[in-house]
């Protein structure tokens, strides 16, 4: 029943989408100054029906309707309600439905929020956006239908991998999708602006709120993903430069570049083509990421069920999208006049763009290189974190420096403001204190610490100035402060992390550095859907004679049958204590990994600050209207 309903609703959405395309196309030629009322009506029904499809799937999950293959394969009656609902988008088909919903939502919001814009500009945007929607609806209906039937109907579902039953991972996909699927709207706007020859100021004003929104959500999505990896994977790391992680980071670089260059475009004409290119690239990179993740051509620690036919569809779609947007760009792009002054604010903002593009290139090459090498020569390799760390770290220095100084410059002026000020003085003193307390570390790491301290203190000064001068951009201060904090805490995290692996039996005691680890006891529990072996450990810090109790677990789930190792993490303000335990073939010896992870809270908090900057940027814009 739900299956038929879901399929019908999706087909109606597709019909409505094609009708909107048809109506928009004919409305281009009509004489009126406003978009035809009919289109508004159709767009309204389009969002209602698309949303209904999504609700249908959620309902199927909630009532555990196993006549749907999708529900059967990913759910179970004993699962908590929260994970039943989040199971909806935890798989390929369901997430594709979510993807379509966000495309439609942004299309609808664009239509109703831009009442006063040029008519043809709006219509072209609508056409491009609905072309994207129809392509994905066709993909959904022909290849990845979440409403496919299963017969005979099983009485119980297969369950969801317990490692995916996690609150962070439940909200991770929607956040990330609003981020990078949201970028579709400025892809459409950019192409429409080219064709309808919209001037740079109104292009900037049109895309700005969408860029801030998608950027904020992308940042939050990446944050939540890292938190999940930290807690659940049991390696104690939060970023592995894994292809799947990279494909969420690549659009983020472009969004960041766009967020900055839009600020220039608002005031000057120079960057028109560049902003268009960035907008097109952002969504393209989002689809590239989806392709890499879903087609199975990459090896990653994050597994997705793979199917080459999906990859082929996304690849063909991507090719079509790239070739037609390049064509449109070359046909319609105007000639820019480029007159910059070297030390003006634009140059600094443009410098940001250079860095973002460079970072993008580094990550893109690192991600694709193994694929290309394997395909062309058959050689199997993987690119590890050292490549990224080695290349990106030195470039953080100039980036941090420019982030500190850049915002202090006025628009279109060329006088150099003194680099030497109180902020620098304070940060040097702070740095010396840090330097004296760190025993051994590389020069590069120390320089990064110095420059991030400078950025932090300078932004604090800027914040203070904000009370005197209301024109200063608060969102910039908070985001830049967050970034400084992020780099600062990651560096200290790298320097101060302690790691020790060993084997132990019950009753064993290990001493190393300042720590004593006691393996006191082992207990078994039986829970509803898993059995668990819990280890009781006491960790004594001999320096200040504090002790903590940690209880890592080995769980054996029954639906489906999966073993997981649950890390035990004790979070303190400055430092996390992280303990994992594993066991092979029921031996009485356990493998223990002890880690001390300082400044984790600071890392999470600074990314949160960065995204708050995005929200403020959005609100600032809203106030102006």
């Amino acid at each position: 029943m739900l299956s038929n309903f879901g399929i019908t609703v999706s087909i109606i959405s597709l019909l409505l989408t094609t009708s909107i395309l048809y109506l928009s196309y004919y409305d281009l030629k009509s004489s009126g100054n406003n978009v035809s009322k009919k289109i508004y009506k159709f767009a309204f029904f389009q969002i209602v029906f698309t949303f209904l499809g999504f609700i249908t799937l959620i309902v199927a999950y909630v009532i555990s309707d196993f006549s749907l293959i999708n529900v059967y394969e990913n759910s179970h009656t004993t699962k908590p309600l929260f994970y039943k609902i989040s199971g909806t988008w935890g798989n390929h088909e369901g997430s594709l439905l979510l993807w379509i919903n966000i495309l439609v939502l942004f299309s609808f919001l664009f239509l109703i929020l831009n009442k006063n814009k040029n008519k043809n500009f709006k219509l072209y945007t609508l056409i491009f956006q609905n072309l994207l929607i129809s392509a994905f609806l066709i993909f959904l209906l022909t290849n990845s239908n979440p409403f496919s039937l299963l017969y005979p109907i099983p009485t119980e579902g297969m369950g969801l991998n317990p490692i995916l039953q996690d609150p962070a991972l439940a909200i991770h996909p929607p956040l990330l999708y609003i981020g990078f699927v949201g970028s579709s709207i400025y892809f459409s706007i950019a192409l429409a602006a080219l064709i309808s020859k919209v001037d740079s100021k109104s292009l900037a004003l049109t895309i700005k709120p969408w860029v801030s929104v998608s950027w904020t959500f992308q940042t939050l999505g990446i944050l939540v993903g890292s938190i999940w990896a930290y807690y659940e994977l049991g390696w104690g790391g939060f970023w592995f430069w894994d292809p799947v992680e990279n494909s969420s980071l690549m659009p983020w670089f472009l969004m960041t570049a766009l967020l900055h260059s839009v600020l220039v475009l608002e005031r000057r004409i120079g960057l028109y083509s560049w902003v268009i290119i960035l907008s097109i690239l952002t969504f393209t990179m989002s689809v590239v990421g989806t392709f890499l993740v879903r087609s199975g051509i990459l090896n990653s620690v994050h597994t997705f069920a793979n199917d080459p036919s999906r990859g082929l569809f996304i690849l063909s779609f991507l090719a079509l999208m790239v070739f037609s947007s390049i064509f449109i760009f070359f046909k319609y792009a105007p000639d820019d006049n480029k007159n910059y002054k070297i030390f003006s604010k634009e140059s600094f903002i443009l410098a940001n763009n250079w860095f973002m593009i460079f970072f993008l290139a580094v990550v893109l090459i690192g991600t694709l290189y193994p694929v290309f090498l394997d395909t062309l020569t058959g050689q199997k390799i993987s690119v590890g974190p050292p490549y990224y760390n080695f290349i990106l770290a030195p470039f953080l220095l100039p980036l941090l420096f420019l982030m500190t100084l850049g915002p202090k410059h006025k628009w279109i002026s060329s006088d150099m403001i003194g680099i030497f000020n109180i902020a620098l003085f304070i940060s040097v003193i702070l740095f010396i204190i840090i330097f004296l307390s760190i025993k051994d570390s590389s020069i590069l790491m120390l320089l990064i610490l110095l420059f991030s301290t400078y950025l932090i203190t300078q932004t604090i000064f800027d914040f203070y100035e904000k009370f005197k001068n209301k024109n200063i951009n608060l969102s910039r201060i908070i985001s830049h402060f967050g970034f400084g904090m992020l780099i600062f805490s990651i560096s200290l995290n790298q320097i101060y992390s302690v790691e020790k692996s060993f084997n132990a039996r019950i009753g064993d005691e290990k001493n190393f550095q300042n720590y004593t680890i006691k393996f006191n006891n082992l207990e078994t529990f039986s829970k509803n859907n898993f059995k668990s072996v819990k280890g009781y450990f006491e960790i004594i810090d001999n320096k200040n004679t504090t002790s903590q109790n940690l209880t890592p677990e080995i769980r054996v789930y029954n639906q489906p049958e999966i073993i997981t190792y649950e890390a035990s993490i004790n979070t303190r303000f400055f430092s996390d204590t992280y303990l994992t335990m594993s066991n092979i073939s029921n031996s009485d010896i356990f493998n223990i990994k002890f880690q001390k992870k300082p400044f984790m809270n600071f890392i999470w908090f600074s990314v949160l600050l960065i995204s708050i900057g995005g929200i403020l940027q959005f609100l600032r814009f809203e106030k102006k209207i």
């Binding site: 290349i391 692996s501 084997n503 999966i562 994992t580």
Partner: protein, 142 residues
């Protein structure tokens, strides 16, 4: 004689061009130095000593019955049905590490029969088999 504007432009263009080339060379050099090559036990026995200097990934099956755990480390044999390599490792193993299943170990070769692993990899997939292993096993499982 070029006018100043064109001259400036040319200068900027050239410096950007040079910068791009330098960065590209730097990038690929780092990439070369930091890739992890994948070896199967048979490939290790065929390779020369140069593979011993860098970190590599070793993939194959955990030989059933070969896993030993003592007070210090874990020891097991990785096989591709033709050649075997003894792997020692200190640390926690992924939940999917099991005898008779595929495994990828990251670390250094001490010699052609002995591998020091720094990291053991696995996926969250019950039926996971890394493609590299699949291929080497496919060739040998005859």
């Amino acid at each position: 004689m070029l006018n100043i504007k064109t001259k400036n432009r040319l200068l900027i263009f050239l410096s950007i061009f040079a910068l791009t080339i330098i960065l590209t060379i730097f990038l690929f050099k780092t990439l070369r130095n930091n890739v992890l090559y994948f070896y199967s036990p048979s490939e290790v026995s065929k390779t020369d000593e140069k593979a011993f200097k860098n970190n590599i990934r070793l993939g194959g099956m955990v030989k059933p019955g070969s896993v030993e755990t003592d007070d210090n480390e874990i020891k097991f044999i990785v096989t591709d049905y033709k050649k075997e390599i003894i792997v020692t490792y200190r640390g926690t193993v992924p939940a999917l590490f099991e005898e008779g299943k595929g495994v990828v170990a990251e670390g250094k070769l001490k010699d052609k029969n002995f591998f020091l692993a720094k990291r053991i990899l696995a996926k969250h997939d019950e039926n996971y088999m890394p493609p590299e292993i699949q291929e080497s096993l496919k060739q040998n499982a005859k």
